[in-house]
Point group: C2
Chain length 244, copies 2
């Protein structure tokens, strides 16, 4: 009998990346995360998926704007400026469609984990943010990773929030299993899996919400190939959306 | 310098459980999964979250019913019988509310990974299903695990499907962070995280959709305490749901 030498085939590990420190506009996130991952003894490896929260991406990209604490009117104006359409209102909560096509609360404008008197806006182009990180990681380490920029969204019908992917680079956002037989030889009914959203959700489990863990490494997954993968692939086309 | 001795604090492992074989009505799923996990060298440990797909739960509970292949009218009748309300129709697709309160496609009636001429219905009481598994695991091993019964649902606004929790036992389904300060000392805005849904999503990443991996172990997470945790906690109360 031999002792087990590691996790079984097909298992997955999600590693928090700590020690990034407070991120400021202009910081090279890819380089900083590469260094932090190596510094904690878990250097990035080829085939990893690196998940980075929107909050630090927005900070690095200077998407922090002044917003007086408790100024509901100013906040509403900011949300409206970030939105192309308001789907629902309830009190101070607006469910809107952002310029990217995401449907979420308050257009993703968020005041947690930012300095008092400011708010974080979503990155202008989260796929580009993801590519920038991917490129910086490749330059620093020579390894190719997939990158997911994640944010925390609510859902229709279901209580509680989950992390989803808003930007993707180096992998497909959605796996397409159409035509794949199931275990009993019949065609699968479930054909398109939002794998980047599931990766973002898995990463959230090690990140928490109180800050301090703005990135995670998802290791062991065969990333779905997709050189043109995009967070936009996770937006249901409005014409096919029965609830927009 | 010492070599790293394992994954860093706060990391998470997701282990597929293989080798369950085809499940039949009356099978003791908890006992079978316990044996399969031990057989592959990854016995269940206290504090693990065991995720089990709805499909095998439905099989073990005899929730497989005859449905002639391709009989759209019979299928629609079945979906309607499983629903309390139809939210939307498009062609053969119905988005309905099930008796449990879940909003999903075709009331969860599914013909993948079941014998030709049959369909799988959702468990009558997925929390009870989860408790039954928890109890069987405890009886076989003496360890207490959390259990999530997962299914694959579509979402409004977002393309692609993700796994979510429909039944929960031994843990809270939603973590409540209200009143927790963020890293900068301000109150968190995101307060309720659908942790059981994120666990289900993480498990799906190692399960795939073609069958053969109907269970997974999520290890390393501090499960949110919740002796009365329930999959119903993940259903947004209709009065608070702007999209129902």
């Amino acid at each position: 009998m031999t002792a087990p030498t590691g996790p079984p085939v097909g298992s997955l590990t999600v590693l928090p990346v700590r020690g990034l420190g407070e991120i400021a506009a202009g910081d090279d996130l890819g380089r900083l995360i590469t260094a932090a991952a190596a510094g904690q003894g878990t250097p990035l490896e080829a085939g990893d998926c690196l998940v980075v929260t929107q909050k630090v991406v927005s900070k690095a990209e200077g998407r922090i704007v002044p917003l007086p604490d408790g100024d509901a009117a100013a906040r509403r104006r900011l949300v409206e400026a970030e939105s192309v359409r308001v789907l629902r209102r309830r009190g101070e909560l607006l469910i809107t469609e952002t310029r990217h096509g995401f449907v979420c609360a308050n257009a993703g404008v968020d005041v947690s984990n930012v300095t008092a008197g400011t708010a974080a806006l979503l990155p202008v182009d989260p796929d580009r943010s993801a590519w920038r990180i991917l490129t910086a990681v490749a330059a620093a380490t020579g390894v190719e990773v997939g990158v997911v920029v994640s944010d925390t969204f609510g859902r229709a019908w279901r209580h509680g929030l989950t992390d989803v992917a808003i930007g993707v680079a180096g992998m497909a956002a959605v796996t397409d299993l159409r035509g794949t037989p199931d275990a009993l030889g019949r065609d699968l009914e479930v054909t398109e899996v939002a794998v980047a959203d599931e990766i973002a959700a898995a990463a959230e489990l090690v990140m928490g919400k109180a800050g301090g863990v703005p990135a995670a490494i998802v290791r062991g997954l065969e990333l779905p190939p997709g050189p043109a993968g995009s967070g936009r692939d996770l937006v249901r086309p409005p014409a096919l959306d029965l609830f927009r």
